[in-house]
Symmetry: C2
Subunit: 489 residues, 2 copies
């Protein structure tokens, strides 16, 4: 019996960074997978093949051995190399990467697919306008970067190898949890123990975990309208109906909660409502807690960005008043340090710590211990407190500059909704143009604006904008407002 | 009308680190919240109060102003300070922190609450035995810590302030995704683009995201038995039925898939099955891909710990053979660098990238950009490749030492199930004692063992142990086995 030797087609690029043996391996592998070389085919003798390709025998042998190891070839002693005869299936290459005709997608997947584009964050960033009144941006240039880098590098150099090992603290690093306890006691009046702190991947993971634990298909969740619309999508992703209740200068209209029949979760920002800036007074806080007690409901307190009150100390967090264990507190260091830090935390009543810890564990591994410990040291050494206190004064000045400039430049064309605190001012413009047109006209003048429109659930007012000033100096604010005055129309 | 002045009870600790005004504030606040001071009550005149407490008038004024700001007191000009008359509710303090009688808990919350204790990771770590054969621990002392710390510190010192800003790349940092592409091409034979890479919080977040997108209540998911049991709980948390299929030395028994009726997701470790160490050969891989194509199913490939093959290059990942876009690849750098790093990644077929990106975005913020970029630089500079290549040889040596020591010391009392690759050896002991007893006896000798029992779904064999050697030197391995020989019985 004469064995037929298959024809192989190998093109080598001797200039390539890819090794010759790798090139041969890939070429033969592709011919086998594509069916050009068939099960049982015999390759040309190694001597002939190495000669025709002008390569050494060991180079060829390396390729063939790898192919044998992976099951593409059988090398028979004294006979040569054969395409493996048990290779029966060949993948369908017709619709490469197109995916199965009907993918198995969950309800959650379907929900995500149906979300409108506005929720998308692109993978590439467009060039920004020169002056951006963006409410999410703190004063980046004020952050003590040198201190931070020094501390982070030092923590990473920690020669205690157990720090590198598996983390069996699903709640996060003990030291960091202790420092966060101290921080919320100093700034937010919350007394809790490190056992109640759960480190999360930013604020959003905290909201997602709470939603996953308290919402089921058909649940109702009360939210502030306007409010943080990203959270609404998180809640809906867990099958919940989002029930909006209006806010006024004192935050959520707690008196309207009576109309919500089955809500078992209410999501509020009592310290500094976004985007209206409302601060909930004590009376209303106590009413809210009493409502939750009567209804056996959970209050999810979003305390983001609450450290920057102007006068006196900030009002303590709602959680500090809770004696029934019904408040879950979600916080973040991203606005206090810098947004790309990616660190949030939950404060959880003792009776729910076990439950939340498990949910955190199943949601993914903990953040890098080096990072967690660097943040702990940064807080312990007082850098965070000093930074917050310095920014308070600066943010207050910058807000005042903006308000005065708006009044002077725009006069009756600008109504200021709230100037109370924090890093932004909510303002409404009287204009013949609409939101989109104003943003477009501002952009042409090099000014970036954020409309409040997407943060309203029921009906947004015309031409309301959230003007952040934290990262703009006086000159930029004045120039930005002067440019706005020209285009409001 | 004679106004009654309420009696206040303030105890000051002048040695305390807490300021006097803070102490007064807290004391009055607590008396108001507890009802000891009632709405409408008048406080003693400031002059009298400061005198009786032996503090300055400004100190007292600071406290009272804060209480007024927060809505506890009303200060009437010329008349004094009154407990706010609109404070009607008083929180129920009877069952402090006990929580509502009937908490609103989701199905997911109920599932987590019902999980057996074995899944819990405690918040405190017990003292470890002297010699731990733990399969999850890489050679910690081999990691180039100085290089890593230098790079991390340098990345944090990056003076480009835009790095500190909000991250609008939900998939993760572009540079890191490029480096991961290169890495999986070099080590795992996977050709993908950075657009297909999604950075996750460790491997578990990747598994959780895939589960959330493909599983719904009543779905079936095929898993390897034995296998990574933590993943089973993740799948069940999404309402799925976990369908076990046995493994042999070649991994999952793909021929048994025909018996699974409705499974639309199969979770496999083809490169190095945990804990059996089986490697799936090409024929079976192609069968698995063909099954998925026919059934429109998704294959979730867990490629954890696959870089440490002994002979030749590791077999390329299953994803490298997928031409139908049905393989989702979950990887991690935690075993390659160090476990507390907390970095994982998904490789997703192009047609599902949008869906997975949204799911990642809703699951929480991205990891610290400083950390992501430091890892990118660590890979780009070749540190990771050199580290992996060095460990391959070391791990192989250590495994060989263990196998030889087991044979010499335990002889017929030890059957070695698999020695193929990776960082552990699976061995069965013949003993009159059971798993628990052997672990307890070993612990008393200062030896830590991990039974494979909890990784079996249907029926675990008696006295099978997963012996990790990566972090043990020759002397420790020999000493550990010698001690085992004494107690196996």
């Amino acid at each position: 019996m004469v064995l037929k030797t298959a024809k192989v087609n190998i093109q080598l690029d001797k200039e390539s960074a890819v090794s010759l043996s790798q090139q041969i391996y890939e070429s033969l592998r592709n011919q086998i997978l594509s069916g050009d070389l068939k099960p049982g085919d015999r390759l040309p003798a190694a001597r002939n093949l190495s000669k025709s390709l002008d390569i050494s025998r060991p180079t060829l042998a390396t390729s063939l051995e790898q192919l044998e190891l992976e099951g593409y070839l059988e090398i028979r002693q004294g006979s040569g190399a054969y395409v493996c005869s048990t290779l029966k299936q060949k993948p369908n290459r017709d619709k490469e990467g197109q995916g199965p005709a009907k993918l198995p997608i969950s309800e959650y997947g379907e929900f995500l697919e149906a979300l409108p584009e506005q929720h998308e964050t692109g993978t590439t960033q467009q060039a920004e306008p020169e002056i951006c009144f963006y409410p999410w941006r703190p004063a980046l240039d004020q952050f003590p970067l040198e201190e931070w880098a020094r501390i982070l590098g030092r923590q990473a150099r920690n020669s205690d190898l157990s720090v590198l090992d598996y983390v069996f603290q699903a709640q996060g690093d003990q030291w960091l949890r202790e420092e966060i306890c101290g921080m919320v006691a100093r700034f937010r009046g919350v007394k809790c123990t490190p056992e109640q702190v759960i480190i999360t991947m930013g604020l959003n993971q905290g909201l997602n975990i709470a939603a996953s634990l308290h919402l089921r298909n058909g649940s109702s969740v009360v939210v502030e309208d306007p409010g943080y619309s990203f959270a609404w999508s998180i809640f809906r992703g867990h099958g919940a109906n989002v029930v909006p209740i209006s806010v006024d200068a004192q935050g959520l209209r707690v008196d309207w909660l009576a109309d919500t029949r089955n809500a078992k979760l209410v999501y509020v920002m009592p310290a500094h409502q976004f985007p209206t800036g409302g601060v909930m007074p004590l009376t209303r806080r106590l009413e809210l807690l009493e409502w939750a007690r009567r209804k056996n409901a959970i209050i999810l307190e979003d305390d983001y960005d609450s450290e920057y009150q102007d006068h006196g100390k900030p009002i303590p967090a709602l959680m500090s008043l809770d004696t029934n264990g019904c408040v879950v507190y979600a916080g973040s260091l991203n606005q206090l340090m810098f947004p790309s830090l990616g660190l949030g935390f939950l404060l959880v009543p003792p009776h729910m710590v076990g439950l939340y810890t498990r949910a955190r564990q199943y949601a993914g591994e903990q953040l890098s211990v080096h990072l967690q410990r660097a943040i702990a040291e940064f807080i312990q050494e007082g850098h965070l407190d000093r930074h917050i206190k310095r920014l308070r004064g600066l943010y207050s000045e910058r807000r005042n500059v903006l308000v005065q400039a708006l009044v002077e430049n725009l006069g009756g064309k600008c109504g200021i909704v709230n100037t109370g605190a924090g890093v932004f001012v909510l303002a409404r413009f009287k204009s013949k143009f609409n939101d989109e047109e104003i943003m477009e006209r501002a952009k042409k003048q090099g000014v970036g604006l954020v409309s409040s429109r997407s943060f309203y659930l029921v009906r947004a007012p015309r031409n309301e904008f959230i003007l952040g000033t934290a990262n703009l100096d006086e000159e930029q604010i004045l120039e930005g407002v002067a440019r706005l005055a020209k285009i409001i129309g």
